[in-house]
């Protein structure tokens, strides 16, 4: 799935930090009775809707046939971009569980969005360095197992993507994959040093005017499509037969390779509802 993105700048932690700060500079300032923008996230694998279960339904670009048993993640820092260069957003983090039974978690609202012509929306897939620390997020039963364990530096997984795949060298055999992403603890750099991983995503939108005086009763909707297959392609093909599928949490090269692929998972379109 090819989509227009302006994201690869996100690969350096320094660049990520700068972007996050600049976005905050023009963030929400005081109450404003603007429009509500509803962000609806839908999950697909290539051309198919995502079904979270144990059935081998999908194939990635490397030819691995696989299932998606679990997809849970954090998204944060949603920011609307206007044609005059201004932005409006929220630093809030949201937990999403892609299982159909948890579909209510796929809808996120941005309130009081000011009038203007929207040209794009950005978000952090995952949690920025400030948020990805122990205790920064509400501790709920649903999210308790998103924690990144203490010996690995603490904080949170920003994604758990799990399932099984067919080992072509051993027909009929299913092996597990656990694409778990988060910060890399590097004790050699100091007791508390963590190499943070998260992904800045910018999604172009066809210029659309938001006018709270004329906004429909339910507000506006931006539909974000999340293609799971793109974790394993574009630009780097990730072949389960050649690269680690398990125990990737401490692997810096794998974590960073996934960060390269992550931005292409997302596209967005505007809808008036």
């Amino acid at each position: 799935m090819k989509i227009s993105l302006q994201t690869l700048f996100a690969l350096s932690p320094l660049a990520v930090l700068v972007v996050a700060i600049s976005a905050c500079d023009e963030d929400i300032t005081g109450p404003f009775e603007g429009s509500t923008v509803n962000l609806e996230i839908s999950h697909v694998v290539g051309t198919a809707d995502l079904v979270v279960d144990d059935v081998i339904r999908y194939a990635n670009v490397a030819g691995n046939n696989y299932s998606v048993k679990d997809l849970r993640y954090y998204v944060s820092n949603f920011t609307v971009h206007f044609d005059d260069g201004s932005t409006y957003g929220s630093s809030a983090a949201h937990f999403v569980d892609a299982r159909a039974s948890r579909s209510e978690t796929h809808s996120i609202q941005l309130e009081n969005v000011p009038d203007g012509t929207v040209v794009g929306i950005s978000m952090v897939y995952g949690l920025d360095a400030e948020t990805n620390v122990d205790g920064a997020l509400p501790n709920t039963l649903d999210t308790a197992d998103m924690e990144w364990p203490p010996p690995m530096g603490g904080g949170y997984h920003y994604m758990k993507l799990e399932g099984r795949w067919e080992d072509s060298g051993n027909p009929g055999s299913l092996l597990g994959y656990t694409t778990h992403t988060g910060a890399r603890f590097m004790p050699s750099m100091g007791d508390t040093y963590r190499h943070h991983h998260f992904i800045n995503v910018y999604m172009d939108l066809v210029d659309t005017a938001i006018d709270h005086g004329e906004s429909p009763e339910e507000g506006y909707e931006i539909r974000i499509t999340y293609d799971v297959n793109d974790w394993y392609e574009d630009p780097v093909t990730y072949d389960f037969e050649a690269l680690p599928q398990q125990m990737v949490m401490p692997l810096l090269d794998v974590q960073e390779q996934l960060m390269v692929n992550g931005p292409s998972c997302f596209s967005a379109s505007f809808a008036t509802v």
Partner: protein, 356 residues
């Protein structure tokens, strides 16, 4: 290892505060409102699950504790809840399958699970078939292979009892005893079963230190080497999810089919609820059917990668296993032993009131 930031000092003292309503239209002229019991909860735990129509009260917990331990709720008045959920074993049973009171004392079909921190339990039983402690408490009494007493007879017995009508009145404002009120009382008592004083907890609070062997096991447990933590997190010791961990690959010949019996969903074949590992050293035998007698057997199951049912959990590494050496296994067991909370299994407030 600096862990004190994960676990703040805990105070488990019980605070008695203002009265509250329990939603059962109490008659204040006969019974004063029950007294709300506010438990000092571990701050690092998620919000507990307490139904709005069954707040925890001093009187309700007292009544629930009596009902939990009173054999009056079994057909032959020989067996209470506490007969199979034994405090010494963290409210589990040391038998592979508990035996009921019916003639011949039939065996149950699953291992009696431990009761630890049930206030955070989103689904009860190995297959998760009941959503609340109240609903769970309703099942064993009439179950023919457990206590084998219809609730109509159980409540009639309680109604005739010299003390219970008054105890129900004090707890719920009415001395008309019903199953609904009885299970509410038992659930209230169970919500006081809070365990957060193991050595692991005390290390997290900076009060103690692991031995070298325990620390090695801790690191293996909480990294992907032994990879226990993905299902058994640091606070509750469980995700409460339902997994097929590859204990079986064929589900014929009486092999327990697990959660599929509840949902009818093929995806749930052979799935069971992930149990907490808190007090795990006290709760042998292990698994839903008690097939493993030791923690070493349990770890060796994961170390060999499971039997590969089609829906085996990806975290159970079929084909490769964990790759733990025998020494690694012993380190993990050394850590698991630090999850034992002896204060919990000796807590007099949770003990059999009829023994004193």
């Amino acid at each position: 290892m600096k862990l004190s930031r994960f676990y703040l000092p805990l105070c488990l003292g019980v605070l008695v505060c203002a009265a509250c309503s329990n939603g059962t239209d109490p008659d204040p002229t006969t019974y004063p409102p029950p007294t709300a019991l506010e438990l000092a909860l571990p701050p690092e735990f998620p919000d507990p699950l307490i139904p709005v129509d069954n707040p925890t009260t001093v009187e309700g917990v007292r009544l629930g504790r009596m009902l939990f331990y009173d054999p009056i709720l079994s057909a032959d008045s020989s067996q209470a809840c506490g007969a199979c959920h034994i405090q010494e074993f963290s409210f589990a049973d040391s038998l592979r399958f508990s035996r009921g009171v019916a003639p011949g004392h039939p065996e149950g079909d699953r291992q009696a699970p431990a009761i630890i921190n049930p206030m955070w339990l989103p689904a009860a039983f190995w297959d998760g078939r009941q959503p609340t402690l109240e609903a769970q408490a309703g099942e064993p009494v009439p179950n023919p292979i457990e206590m084998n007493l219809p609730w109509s007879q159980a409540t009639a017995r309680l109604q005739r009892h010299a003390d219970y009508p008054t105890l129900f009145g004090q707890a719920f404002g009415t001395d008309v005893i019903t199953m609904d009120l009885a299970v509410k009382a038992i659930a209230q008592f169970e919500r006081t079963m809070i365990s957060v004083d193991s050595k692991f907890d005390r290390v997290n609070r900076g009060l103690e230190q692991f031995t070298a062997e325990q620390d090695s096991g801790f690191v293996q447990f909480f990294t992907e080497k032994a990879d226990c933590f993905h299902c058994h997190g640091p606070k509750l010791g469980t995700t409460h999810r339902f997994n097929n961990i590859g204990l079986d690959s064929v589900y014929t010949g009486g092999v327990d089919r697990g959660r599929i019996l509840v949902t009818g969903n093929q995806e749930d074949l052979g799935k069971f609820k992930v149990p907490t590992l808190r007090n795990i050293a006290l709760t042998a035998p292990y698994m839903h059917d008690g097939r493993f007698n030791t923690l070493e057997e349990v770890i060796n199951h994961y170390n060999t990668g499971g039997h590969d049912p089609t829906n085996q959990d990806p975290l159970v590494r079929f084909g490769t296993g964990l790759g733990l050496s025998p020494q690694d296994v012993q380190y993990v067991i050394a850590f698991l032993n630090t999850l034992t909370d002896t204060a919990y299994v000796n807590n007099p407030d949770l003990s059999n009131p009829f023994d004193s």
